[in-house]
Symmetry: C3
């Protein structure tokens, strides 16, 4: 029997199936340095042990998106190796901060299966949980992907589509244990904008643009042991109409999030992921721009939370906030529409 793993096809999934993903991963200061080099994030809470200690934490945790990428990467070989498209995210919650030295592992439960009418593909819904070395969950989220069938004639029993929340309820957001922003240093953080200063509906142009190179997105994606072929196999991709390696969507999310510092300096702490859509494929060589809109606000007691919509474009500044029109058709430059909750200190 061949030992080569071809990855799962649609008919290989079963409702309720629990997949234990391979390759647990110890997150280190090396990962943080690479994350900084690849995206240039400047949120003080993740940049300085001293700043984090002044906020009640033992040391600087990693950017929550690092935890997301690590956990996501583990799921790829089991879930999306034969994926046609990554369709969406929902109900993402960051449950505990991750510190360098922590080891993350991941499991996924199949919570939905729906064959497409063409009989050649189907949509797989999984709820993935990342845990640390103490078995504590650090992250949970739902993702759905379109996966090829190996055999178009295969019959998949027990299909169902899960009922997913449009947004994580503020009451379900978890503030990192011990976080105390009573002595928050706004100057070191880079801006005086507190929770109280943001208004629902407010739009922020993040101004800066960031070019992405092939070497950068490949390194970023391999760093998380994400093995999806479309990001690396140029020989195969040469046969695609684009002729190009596809940039991992997570690279676009992290690039846009790093750009969002200009205007959201105190909103680096991602607490929840409500949804996200990779509106168009992104290829190396283009420059990413981004803007944000405040969709909602919630007072969590010790801190506030902003529900933010982060829109990224390629090769198009966001001065005029490129968006979708009344019919839901996006400006052709838009590549990402991401909906998340971020914790923000209150002025108090």
């Amino acid at each position: 029997m061949s030992k080569t793993d071809p990855g799962r096809f649609f008919e290989d999934f079963r409702l309720g199936q629990v997949l234990v993903h391979a390759t647990p991963r110890t997150v280190t200061a090396g990962d943080v340095a690479l994350y900084t080099a690849l995206y240039g994030p400047r949120f003080s809470l993740f940049s300085s042990d001293e700043f984090a200690r002044a906020c009640g934490l033992a040391a600087a945790p990693v950017d929550p998106l690092v935890a997301f990428h690590v956990v996501f990467g583990k799921t790829v070989p089991d879930i999306s190796l034969n994926a046609v498209a990554n369709l969406g995210y929902a109900e993402g919650r960051f449950l505990a901060p991750v510190f360098p030295g922590d080891t993350l592992a991941a499991t996924s439960e199949v919570i939905g299966l729906k064959e497409n009418s063409n009989g050649r593909t189907g949509v797989v819904y999984v709820r993935t949980t990342g845990t640390n070395q103490r078995g504590e969950p650090v992250l949970s989220y739902v993702r759905w992907v379109m996966v090829r069938k190996r055999d178009p004639a295969a019959v998949v029993e027990g299909q169902s589509v899960p009922d997913l929340a449009k947004a994580v309820a503020p009451g379900d957001l978890v503030v990192p244990q011990g976080l105390d922003v009573s002595a928050y240093d706004w100057a070191l953080a880079g801006a005086p904008h507190a929770f109280e200063d943001y208004a629902v509906g407010e739009k922020i142009d993040h101004v800066d643009g960031m070019a992405v190179e092939e070497a950068e997105h490949q390194m970023a994606t391999r760093l998380w042991q994400n093995t999806a072929k479309v990001h690396f196999n140029q020989f195969e991709r040469s046969k695609d109409p684009s002729g190009r390696r596809l940039v991992y969507g997570g690279v676009v999310i992290s690039t846009a999030k790093a750009l969002s510092f200009n205007g959201l300096q105190n909103a680096g702490l991602v607490l929840g992921i409500n949804g996200g859509r990779h509106v168009a494929p992104f290829f190396a060589g283009s420059t990413v721009f981004a803007w944000s809109q405040v969709l909602d606000k919630a007072d969590l007691g010790s801190i506030g939370a902003l529900r933010l919509r982060l829109v990224a474009t390629k090769d198009r500044p966001c001065t005029d906030f490129p968006n979708k029109d009344g019919d839901g058709v996006y400006d052709p430059a838009v590549i990402l529409d991401f909906d998340y909750w971020a914790g923000v200190p209150k002025r108090g």
Copy 2:
């Protein structure tokens, strides 16, 4: 006198000469993160401190190839700065695992010298030993390179060619002290294939392809402080018929090894290097594929060892195992033919 070091030429070597290589190097979690970002390896033993502890080790050691690259890099300024070609490896043995925080240094003994009939070059054989901060050897291997003569008229005394083993004898392989795979977690490791499941002669296509960019191979090579000019000096290389910087052969080995995870998930622990040939030069922009064949098996008691042949190609999938023909002529896509021993847990 000029302080610029021109590197040694063939007539500068003496049989029995011992070279103390410069720049000891502390290996860190930063190196591990970069190794992951550059190649995407997924072997759990080197990825997770928790997994390594469950296997009896104090923490996750670095991939043995990291130790190899560090030690190899140190030897370049003293041995191969004026090399025409890296001809071969033999008798490589990994003698102790290397952990982040360990400091590696290297020495080489000249064990063979053979001038070529053209009088312009000669072959230098060295046995290199890498040691850690306690002076314990962590790695030993023989390498031979073709080196230019400074003066074609120079006479080199005491020439001789060493008698090298075709393969490291299983009895000479060293299992890392403390390694205990009795509680090995096959699910977290990514596959159930144990030592018993591999048959001599068995071939495995590793399926995936990995493109290599100029920035990636340059970073990978500088990381190990390998200074060979052919990898970095584009101005000079523009005069070469290829017009291209040559990718360090170690980049091809590590790329192919990382790809080998698909089918050899439990065989990441390199114990010995029997031989290796960089069959053809490799340039950035191409995609590396790989396949392996089981050449031999040896029961080492606590674990098993597989003697593996790892063949890498450029821009050619390995579904049909591209090889050399009866006359020893390689398929034109083959770039690497590497022969090594890997430790594999037994099912028990």
Copy 3:
């Protein structure tokens, strides 16, 4: 009010103003690994904890240029986001070594302001101080940049140009506390050249050439959270006559410094920066070469110091030491002229 930070314009600066820069940064082993991967430095003092301990230090400090880049990066959003050009450095002194785990923060005092006669730009002089988590200064230097005015009609009061030293006086150089080179291992360091072996006026060709890729300079610049748009925003740069992203000058300095190992193996410890000029813009794809000249020598007691001029070129080997002519006009290949003090062990 928009939360987007447009950066300061010339009329936003005031003489005596103290700017607290955002985003303190914990320096880690991950940064050291990346610095090694991006430049390939080989100075043993920064490469090996064991070597550094044998020199009286607790562990390997980071290359002083790492501290410089970190501190410089913090100042960019506050000082040079709207800069037309980085004009010069002076009075740079490294005051304490930085070790992985240290957290650096930075403040700058405006010490000079001079409007240009065109009324559209002005020169801002700042003295920047980097401090560690104990509040100890680790680095201090003066930099001056040409900054745009927002409003050409704005009047800037209190203009003055500071009187800056042509070179740091040897008595002001600070030898790292505890440094003891009495047991310095010249073989591990890579060369026997001691302080006594260098003569004022001596020139050294560093021979090697290093190509720089777009991905590399972007990663190097983001690593230090340097946000200057010219390095990253290809979309915007496409409108520039060059059509190219500009490489951060610090990348050229660090590349040339790493190349200087060949001939200055024992002079890695930068103690002071006397001046520096980015003679011409540098773009990715070219190969950097470098040569050095000994400008002065000073005996600091426990060690010596060399005042060195480091000249870097693009796509031109430095065998004949490309320089400026009698009129101060540089060879067109020269991109950097950097003047610094380096500590060097004495033979004793």
